[in-house]
């Protein structure tokens, strides 16, 4: 039981990274960035590719993350900048276009098979009581928590954070008050892309496989986590991610893998009906889509 809870939290922590990445984008820029599952995948696949080319794993991971920063900037250039004044559903289409683009570029580069990711850490598992904690998984859980706490600290306490929150409130007024939107908005895209990509790298290290389509399943769960937590709310995204991870692992444990989707999406549906604005969202607030 407790073991399953731990496994669920580990899986959930990956969802948390993707969900926080999405929630940053929608909370600050009011932009549901569907290319994020693609950036997640790029993080994992590019790391694999670099390791295969003979680079040491830290170097491989850093190169992949830098590449994702560039990709995130390209997405910003072709989606967010064009959306001003149009219906808010629209950039959703072009960011989905980028998801398809990234996936198929990687398909050309590495093929559609699941690629085995090398095990870079020797097996170091911790046993606490009867619980088995995988080393890499533990590191990724801690890393996710640290990253998310850091982001929320930056948003709350620093000068940058204040500027970002002003943009979230009203981009036009923020611009009038002298905030350099052209500088801050790409930074938000990079931060959100990096979170997703780190999620992808951690996923690769934990589950030891990558493929061009690895972002989809995780991305959908991440989006669900973000929405069920209440959009734009970082703590909501964390709660949502962990909730989905734990629900998924428990339903596999108790009911078998045939019923995972029914249970996970059933729980989401019921939660949404009970709390139409998400767990931590305000109901009366006008929706942001």
């Amino acid at each position: 039981m407790a073991q399953q809870l731990v496994n669920g939290l580990m899986l959930g922590s990956i969802y948390v990274l993707v969900a926080v990445s999405l929630t940053l984008s929608i909370g600050i820029l009011n932009f549901l960035n569907f290319s994020i599952p693609g950036l997640f995948m790029l993080g994992g696949v590019l790391t694999w590719l670099m390791i295969k080319l003979g680079f040491a794993w830290p170097l491989a991971a850093i190169t992949a993350l830098l590449a994702v920063c560039v990709a995130a900037l390209v997405v910003e250039r072709f989606t967010y900048r064009w959306m001003k004044g149009s219906d808010p559903e629209v950039p959703l289409v072009s960011s989905l276009g980028f998801l398809i683009l990234f996936e198929n570029l990687m398909l050309v580069a590495v093929g559609s098979d699941q690629q085995a990711f090398p095990q870079v850490f020797a097996d170091f598992n911790l046993r606490i009581g009867g619980l088995l904690l995988g080393g890499p998984q533990l590191i990724s859980l801690v890393l996710s928590i640290v990253l998310v706490v850091m982001i929320s600290w930056v948003l709350r306490k620093t000068r940058y954070g204040r500027q970002v929150r002003a943009i979230a409130e009203d981009p036009e007024t923020a611009g009038i008050l002298g905030i350099d939107l052209q500088r801050i908005v790409p930074l938000v895209f990079i931060a959100s892309g990096l979170l997703a990509a780190i999620g992808g790298v951690l996923f690769a290290f934990n589950y030891l496989q990558v493929s061009p389509f690895m972002g989809e399943e995780v991305g959908l769960k991440g989006i669900s986590a973000m929405i069920v937590g209440g959009m734009g709310n970082i703590w909501g995204a964390i709660a949502g991610g962990l909730l989905i991870g734990v629900t998924e692992v428990f339903s596999i444990y108790f009911l078998g893998s045939d019923f995972v989707d029914i249970v996970v999406y059933g729980v989401l549906l019921v939660l949404l009906i009970l709390r139409p604005g998400g767990l931590f969202g305000r109901v009366e607030q006008r929706e942001k889509l």
Binding site: M83, E89, L92, I100, E103, I273, P276
Partner: protein, 282 residues
């Protein structure tokens, strides 16, 4: 007509039906990401009726569509408590649940799929699609459609002006589900086989993309979107493995170039009728 062209036209017809199934709720402001689920209900219900009680296809497909409508009606009230992106996730969850239920339902073959014994030829599929288009063209001229647009633009004001927004929204959701059910029934009877995995998240997202790329302002937008998503990948076949890379690039360019959807009301307005007033929303 070559078999290839015939096949592409069948695909186009089914995509057109699905595009309108998503466009109708969207014209009331509902982003329905569960269209594939309703399509699955239409497909499985009609296939079950022709297979098990030897009902004629022409009765079974409407019956399947009605079944999809009944499900939409039943879940509509609780689901419509949510709005915007939350509604999108609620419908998406519903679609995933429906898919997973059929995947585990052994009466209709479970994961191994379900063969359908009655066959609908290409002509039947085309005619159904044309029927749906004509229906939507007529519907778009009615007061009902105007009400939906009013709700989309501002549900609160529409409510204040005396529209029964709850019932209208429910009607839009249900009607969309019925159209999706028709699409599902036709799909099942043309391809003679249904499997639950087909009605997945990919399909759901692409159906909505048809509509958003084509544009939601006019009734012709979804038609264009379905055409784009069917024809362009076929035209790009020469590029082999780069096919979907190019396709994705075209989507991005199309949306950057026409960010309100390719077909806008302004585009269709005859030049002699003058400019659209500033700020007017069709």
């Amino acid at each position: 007509m070559s078999g290839y062209l015939e096949g592409v036209l069948v695909l186009l017809s089914i995509n057109v039906i699905l595009a309108y199934a998503a466009a109708l709720p969207l014209s009331a402001g509902q982003l329905n990401l569960g269209i594939a689920g309703f399509m699955a209900i239409g497909a499985y219900a009609s296939a079950f009726l022709t297979n098990e009680i030897a009902l004629s296809m022409w009765l079974a497909i409407p019956a399947g569509a009605a079944a999809a409508g009944v499900v939409a009606l039943a879940v509509g009230l609780p689901i419509l408590r949510t709005h915007g992106i939350y509604l999108a996730l609620a419908t998406f969850s519903l679609g995933e649940i429906i898919k997973a239920v059929f995947l585990n339902l052994d009466v209709v073959g479970g994961a191994s799929g379900y063969a359908v014994f009655d066959y609908a030829g290409p002509m039947a599929v085309w005619l159904t699609a044309i029927g749906v288009v004509v229906f939507m063209l007529i519907l778009s001229q009615t007061r009902f459609f105007l009400y939906l647009t009013a709700i989309k633009n501002d549900a609160t004001v529409a409510d204040l002006f005396g529209l029964n927004t709850r019932n209208l929204q429910l009607a839009a959701l249900t009607l969309g589900a019925v159209i999706a059910g028709i699409g599902g029934g036709v799909y099942a009877h043309h391809f003679s086989f249904v499997e639950a995995q087909y009605f997945n998240a990919h399909l759901n997202i692409f159906i909505v993309l048809f509509v958003l790329l084509g544009g939601v302002q006019t009734v012709y937008g979804p038609l264009f979107g379905a055409l784009f998503f069917t024809a362009v990948p076929e035209l790009l076949r020469f590029s082999d493995e780069w096919r979907f890379v190019l396709f994705a690039a075209l989507i991005i360019i199309a949306m950057a170039w026409r960010s309100e959807g390719v077909i806008t009301a302004k585009l269709l307005r005859a030049p002699w009728r003058g400019k659209t007033p500033e700020g007017a929303r069709p």
